[in-house]
């Protein structure tokens, strides 16, 4: 592995929901500062990998290491400060009765960090949120603004790893562009490691360095994003996926 330690290292990861095994034998090494894309169709288990890393899908076997530290199945404060997640649906991932201020202060309160009045406006600014939104409720914000709040919340504890589960698929294309730009800038500014799950290959092409194609719970291929751009992926299924995303109507 050389001298550089992996930010995330998965070895032979199996994840089950009840009796059904959703992810089988997944092994990945994701370097610090890298942006890694996990692509596949729905049911391929790509989101489940993220949920296993976070502990939201605790029924897994194998090994998950974050910066060389083996991960257990609980969600504790140390893990929370290291790794955060942004969810797909900006309408479902914010507490409907809490203002932006309450949502962003909560992680600080949990970790006993005092200066919320300085940090909340700072983070809002970093995520491109107008300070006037601070005391608004989610229903007073647009989808894009909500997703900015969700990203800001994930970054409040200054994590090193950000897991992104289809962060733009519920948004309009013009808003998607804004959020993708924001994610790119935040990664550069804060030296974050991203793992992004998406079905949208152009998003991977824009944001990622490497990608893994998943199918029915297994990794089919790990490739450089250059292979995606030039359509020179090795596995036939990967190529089929690329093909379908360029010409959707095979009439």
């Amino acid at each position: 592995m050389g001298n550089g330690m992996s930010a995330i290292s998965l070895k032979n990861l199996d994840v089950s929901y009840g009796d059904t095994r959703v992810v089988e034998g997944v092994s990945l090494e994701i370097a610090e500062g890298e942006c890694f894309g996990l692509v596949g169709e729905s049911g391929s288990g790509k989101s489940t990998v993220l949920r296993a890393i976070t502990g939201l899908a605790p029924d897994w076997e194998g090994e998950i290491d974050l910066f060389g530290q083996p991960r257990d199945k609980s969600i504790d404060k140390r893990f929370a400060a290291l790794c955060q997640m942004v969810f797909q649906d900006p309408y479902g991932s914010l507490h409907p009765r809490q203002t932006v201020d309450a949502t962003l202060s909560e992680p600080l309160a949990i970790h006993g960090i005092k200066d919320a009045d300085r940090r909340v406006p700072e983070m809002m600014e970093a995520c491109g949120l107008d300070p006037r939104f601070r005391f608004r409720l989610p229903h007073q914000l647009s989808g894009g603004q909500r997703q900015r709040v969700a990203i800001a919340r994930a970054l409040m504890l200054k994590p090193k790893i950000l897991l992104l589960d289809e962060p733009t698929s519920a948004l309009d294309v013009s808003v998607q562009a804004e959020i993708l730009n924001l994610l790119k800038r935040l990664r550069r500014e804060q030296g974050l490691t991203y793992v992004i799950v998406t079905h949208d290959l152009p998003v991977v092409s824009f944001l990622c360095d490497r990608l893994a194609v998943m199918r029915q719970g297994r990794i089919v291929e790990v490739a450089d994003v250059a292979a995606l751009k030039t359509n020179t992926m090795k596995d036939p299924y990967s190529r089929e996926l690329v093909e379908k995303s360029t010409t959707r109507i095979t009439a």
């Binding site: 169709e41 729905s42 989808g143 309009d172 294309v173 013009s174 808003v175 998607q176 562009a177 804004e178 993708l180 730009n181 790119k184 079905h199 290959l201 152009p202 998003v203 092409s205 824009f206 995606l228 751009k229 030039t230 359509n231 089929e240 996926l241 690329v242 379908k244 995303s245 360029t246 010409t247 959707r248 109507i249 095979t250 009439a251």
Partner: protein, 278 residues
């Protein structure tokens, strides 16, 4: 093209709010022949409201007005609700985004498709069953006999949407309004579903209104495109000439989509002040 199937002039949809009425569709005009018309726009552009208002599906207190909303020699805004029911489903049908919410969970798939037929045409049961099975085959469901007896929760998303399409097309309507029919589906399934819609439309010589947020998808699939923004049509062009679009909104939208071989460091963001007049 002869007499258009549908002629819409100056369509407006208004909703009263605490701070006065809000117009969500502001003077939309278009005609539809036996063709595939795409209506593209982002959320809040009024594209879905336009589709729904044609079938008078806007709920109170919403209010629909138009200088003209003609279909089949009838003015859809002035006919009685009873006559409207004969149009809805039988002559103009609509496919919605998510089959999960549009199918009745306690009726089998076959019964539901047959229901559409039984309401509009009085046919003996056996004949209905046969027509349903043929229709299921037409939407490329491999073993129609088995699917006929399944309940909606037992079918996958892609199959559910095919069932919806079968249900909407079995009375052989003149116009199909498809509101984001594939947005809830996987890319691979999307293609198949679109292909089915396309084949059935062409075969029956129907008109299609395809409502979507996806400019590229619409440009590949439709003959003509209307781009809507804030309740108005800002661009109208042939699908093949989308790359020559003139309105800055359309051009901005096209540019903001990432490409498969993306090389840009940042994506261009829409500058709405460019065309919005306060």
């Amino acid at each position: 093209m002869s007499e258009p199937l549908l002629d819409v002039q100056n369509l407006r949809v208004r909703f009263p709010t605490a701070t006065g009425p809000v117009e969500v569709v502001r003077g939309v005009s278009f005609t539809l022949g036996r063709e595939r018309l795409g209506i593209v726009g982002e959320s809040g552009s009024g594209k879905s409201m336009t589709g729904r208002s044609i079938l008078r599906l806007i709920r109170k207190p919403g209010e629909v007005t138009a200088d003209r909303l003609r279909f089949d020699g009838k003015d859809l805004l002035s006919i009685s609700e009873r006559e409207m029911r004969k149009v809805r489903g039988a002559r103009i049908s609509m496919v919605m985004q998510d089959p999960k919410f549009s199918l009745n969970p306690v009726m089998t798939v076959g019964e539901q498709i047959g229901e559409a037929l039984a309401v509009h045409e009085k046919l003996p049961r056996r004949q209905i069953r046969e027509r349903v099975l043929t229709m299921l085959e037409a939407v490329q469901i491999r073993d129609p006999e088995r699917v006929f007896g399944l309940y909606p929760h037992e079918v996958s998303g892609g199959m559910g949407q095919r069932v919806m399409i079968a249900m909407m097309l079995i009375p052989e309507p003149a116009i199909l309004i498809a509101d984001e029919p594939t947005s809830a589906l996987d890319v691979s399934v999307q293609g198949e579903v679109l292909k089915i819609i396309d084949e059935l439309i062409t075969r029956n010589g129907m008109g299609l209104i395809f409502i979507s947020h996806d400019l590229h998808l619409v440009s590949q699939f439709c003959d003509r495109i209307l781009v809507m923004y804030r309740g108005e049509v800002v661009e109208q062009c042939a699908a093949s000439e989308l790359d020559k679009a003139s309105h800055p909104y359309t051009r901005g939208l096209l540019a903001s989509v990432p490409q498969l071989n993306e090389t840009r460091e940042l994506l261009p963001v829409l500058d709405r002040s460019q065309w919005e007049t306060a």
